[in-house]
Amino acid sequence: MTSLIIVSVLAVAVLYLGLFKYKTALLPVSVTGLLAAAAMAAMDWDLEKMYFSEMMLFDNYAVAFSILLILTTLLIFGLSRNYFEKISNNVAEYYALMLFALAGGVVMVSFHNLAMLFIGIEILSISLYVLAGIRRKDPASNEASLKYFLMGAFATGFLLFGTALIYGATGSFNLAAIASSGAFESALFRAGVLLMMVGLSFKVSVAPFHTWTPDVYEGSPGLIAMFMATVVKTAGFAAFLRLFLMAFAEASAFWAITVAILCILTLFAGNITAVFQDRFKRLLAWSSVSHAGYLLLAILAVGFSASSAVLVYTIAYSLASVAAFGIMILVSRARGNDHLDSFNGLARTNPFLAFTLTLAVCSLAGIPLTAGFFGKFYVFKVALAQGYTWLVVLAVINAMIGIYYYFKVIIAMYMKENANAVAIQLNPGFRLVLSIVVFLIFLFGIFPGLIANIL
């Protein structure tokens, strides 16, 4: 709880720092504040405390995901030095909005009442609508913002209507009360669950509600797309799982088949479309859709180990995405675009970048010795334990398709030559963050027990 307060106050403080023109203090203050927030979140470990008449519950699930969200934001802030200054005058607003979005994310992973879920999602989304369109003079950014807004607000309508129906069927917004209400057979409840599922699917870009994803990712500034792919997706899935685990688990016989269908659709839509992309940012956007499919597998297998599998997967996915988007930003800035050809010869000019990107896409593809392998491994394991063998088979086929398109960029970097390529300059922030990411991907890839047994 303290961490949530710190994040919110930090956001306001950063806003005021910008107002009084202390631009150099923005980054140090944000980083210090986030570290403090992560530390305070860790202090809540094993306390299982309820806050505000059972509105929020800071159990280990909430703490683990809060820390993950905060640390991912920290990594993104590490990359953001001199980035926002180039595209906008309102640097403080960037930081403040990202912190507000983070506060929304923390609420989303710690809610114990549908009201807090709704408020958390709205805080996160409204900040992001603005962030997507913050490059005010850039048409693509405006388009991204408008699309994201229309889709997001539309999804909110579904979510709110679903919430209302569930409230009608069970008489409460409290997750525990919903779970013990025994109203799972009523039509009202079922309609409510389906509507909430649709709303959440929009937010985490699950097919067939994923159509906004590539356009929004492409139009938004690179770091914001990175934020969407990591923090927002993690928060969205943590909220999705928490809701279905704590409130709807008893009714799983009813919604499981729907989730299974969404899962297949998402996997195939994401992976097959990604094959045909020749721009790296769009490829990453489609791959983020496909990763939503793998994560749905874990939600399908509600149970104690599902949260652990989702945690491992989101950690691996966030780390790899930070590296992939970060290098995408560097390359597109140095070479003018993010076309796959721009990566040609990167291994010769910047061996470190090429190595990091290779590791990142291997982790995204799920190659052994990287964190991503164990992410997929645990997700498949919990799905198999629940008897979804056919689904896991389909998922493995998709993982192979994934390997194909992820390796296109590796081939571009190592096999193809670019005569007039010059080395890309790295600032210290990038160097530090990418080194940390490389270290962690290896660490969790070799010792998965470090994160697999947290929850």
Partner: protein, 124 residues
């Protein structure tokens, strides 16, 4: 405790609604029939405080107005949180008072931000 209500308990409201509509309809018809009619050009032009009307009323207006209006809506809507608080003022006691002050403080921070940014600066 749940108040029992059925379709019949809405009957008074229905009657009232019919009465209201009927009153409007009847007065309109009667004034139309009874009143004298003098149609002149002056009478048919829209009345704008004695000044002859200029242009279409649906013309675009300044964006500045939009900003002020939207900020007004935001701060205005936040006030609804004060109604439930005011109703339960005694039960909530000192703690509720502090929480409301925190809430108002946050709103004020936003308000100062708006002022400093010059969003309410009409002349700019």
């Amino acid at each position: 405790m749940l108040l029992q209500s059925s379709a019949s308990s809405y009957l008074p409201i229905l009657i009232q609604g019919i009465m209201a509509l009927a009153f409007v309809g009847i007065t309109m018809v009667i004034t139309h029939l009874v009143g004298p009619k003098r149609r002149t050009i002056d009478k048919l032009t829209p009345f704008e405080s004695g000044i002859s009307s200029v242009g279409n009323a649906r013309s675009p207006f300044s964006i500045k107005y939009f900003l002020v209006a939207i900020l007004f809506v935001l701060f205005d809507v936040e006030v609804i949180f004060m109604y439930p608080w005011a109703v339960n003022f005694r039960e909530l006691g000192g703690k509720g008072m502090i929480e409301m002050f925190v809430f108002m403080g946050m709103l004020l921070l936003g308000f100062f931000y708006v002022i400093r940014k010059g969003a309410l600066d009409w002349e700019k």
